[in-house]
Amino acid sequence: MPIESLTALAIKRLGATKVGKKCLEESTEIVVFGSRSVGLERADSDIDILCIGGFNLKLKTAHLDLNAIQTKETRESHWLNSELASHIAEYGSWIKGTPDWIVRVHIGEEAIEAKRRRVAAFMRALPDKWSGLYEGFREKYSIKLRRETQRLLFLERGEPIPPTKILDSYWKAVSSSSCDVHNCLRRFSNSHRTSFEQDLFTRIDLAMQAQDSANSQLVQGATASVGSALYWRQSTGLTGSLRSAISAATSERMSFSAMAGK
């Protein structure tokens, strides 16, 4: 999405709520991040916005996920070393203000540790409850655990976590090994070969196979362009920014759409 359209959408969504209007008026920086920022959104995606200014608040609606923080926080290591700050610094699109703090962002050990703790908590609590969970919840946790493990792998590599679409659709294009998710999860497992673990790993494998299947069927459009760009980046061994590859691919999609329009 061109920055003008993204700005218009952000203003519209913020303007629809009282606190959003306050953020629009009083924030010194407004940043869109997540899938919309890189053009990988679905039609029904919400918009993730960070507002930096004089107050703190969080608001989540069906169309808006808003987080407001104070300017002074952007100077604190708690923020600069966080998972969210590193994601925003890499993938955010500024629609208001100029960031001076992003050059100091660095994924800290505490962010990695927080993610390890989260994966460990799931792996500790799920085995006992697994057989009693309704199928929909088992599916929910298998997706959640896969994504959180993928994010942990990114953080451990010192890389910002990418939008979820990349985790769900192009893992092999950004991963160093096809079994790295399994191996990472096993680090947190107390009892190998349990029925829980077997079921979890089977579900993760099926999700990965579904990615391959979906990617092989795509021939054009933004999704295929992103996939091509990421696979090209991986196959050529280039270590350029993931964001650059995604941006290049989504720009390509826009050019394609513009040409198709003509």
């Binding site: 969080k58 989540k60 987080n67 290591s77 708690h78 070393n81 966080s82 998972e83 969210l84 800290g108 050990e109 505490e110 962010a111 540790e113 927080a114 390890r116 703790r117 989260r118 460990a120 908590a121 799931f122 500790r124 609590a125 799920l126 409850k129 009693g132 969970l133 309704y134 929909g136 919840f137 929910k140 946790y141 959180e148 680090r187 947190f188 107390n190």
Partner: protein, 188 residues
């Protein structure tokens, strides 16, 4: 007046009878017992939260909120050991454990046919269970809503204060339910 223009009768909610109240109460008791919420008074949990605030490294592991001194943390430390040490620390409960316990409770109600998935296949939430059997303005529904709000956190992080607020809501729901269960027993 055509049939389509006739005022429609508002759908009545199924009454939360004794059996339903008992099933919900049983599930809530299981959750509270598994976290020690049943026996823990508000002050003991507050003490645990307060105590954790006084332990910088522990607070960091809980919340990911402050900066941990890199020299104090051995990145190669075995994770199992780390979590065995911290997992059962006084009164602290991970958000993820609560989330799983709540979903197990909802699963039990689904398997028992007490609640159902929506027509679109969406699974019910904790709040949905109470909305299904009680009026929108009922205190118990408000509390269930607050519980979900507090336990949700932001970007997978929840503050000790929000966890304490969630626990308080949960215990209030249980108390209200027990009172109503008592009322249902009296009525029978």
């Amino acid at each position: 007046m055509r049939e389509s223009e006739m005022p429609t009768k508002p759908k009545t909610k199924p009454r939360a009878g004794k059996k339903i109240l008992e099933a919900i109460n049983e599930g809530l008791e299981e959750i509270s017992a598994s976290f020690g919420w049943e026996s823990a008074s508000a002050s003991s949990v507050s003490e645990a939260v307060e105590k954790s605030k006084n332990e910088p490294a522990a607070v960091e592991r809980i919340a990911g909120a402050d900066v941990m001194d890199a020299e104090e943390f051995d990145a190669d430390q075995d994770f199992d050991d780390l979590y065995e040490e911290t997992g059962s620390r006084d009164g602290w409960i991970d958000k993820e454990e609560v989330e799983i316990a709540v979903d197990a409770f909802i699963s039990t109600l689904l398997f028992a046919g007490i609640i159902r998935k929506s027509k679109s296949g969406k699974l019910p939430s904790f709040e949905d269970i109470f909305e299904r059997f009680f009026d929108e303005e009922d205190e118990i529904v408000e509390l269930a809503r607050s519980f979900e709000h507090n336990i949700q956190g932001y970007f997978d992080w929840i503050s000790p204060e929000d966890m304490e607020a969630a626990r308080d809501c949960f215990l209030e729901i249980r108390d209200l339910l027990l009172k109503r269960l008592g009322g249902a027993n009296d009525a029978n």
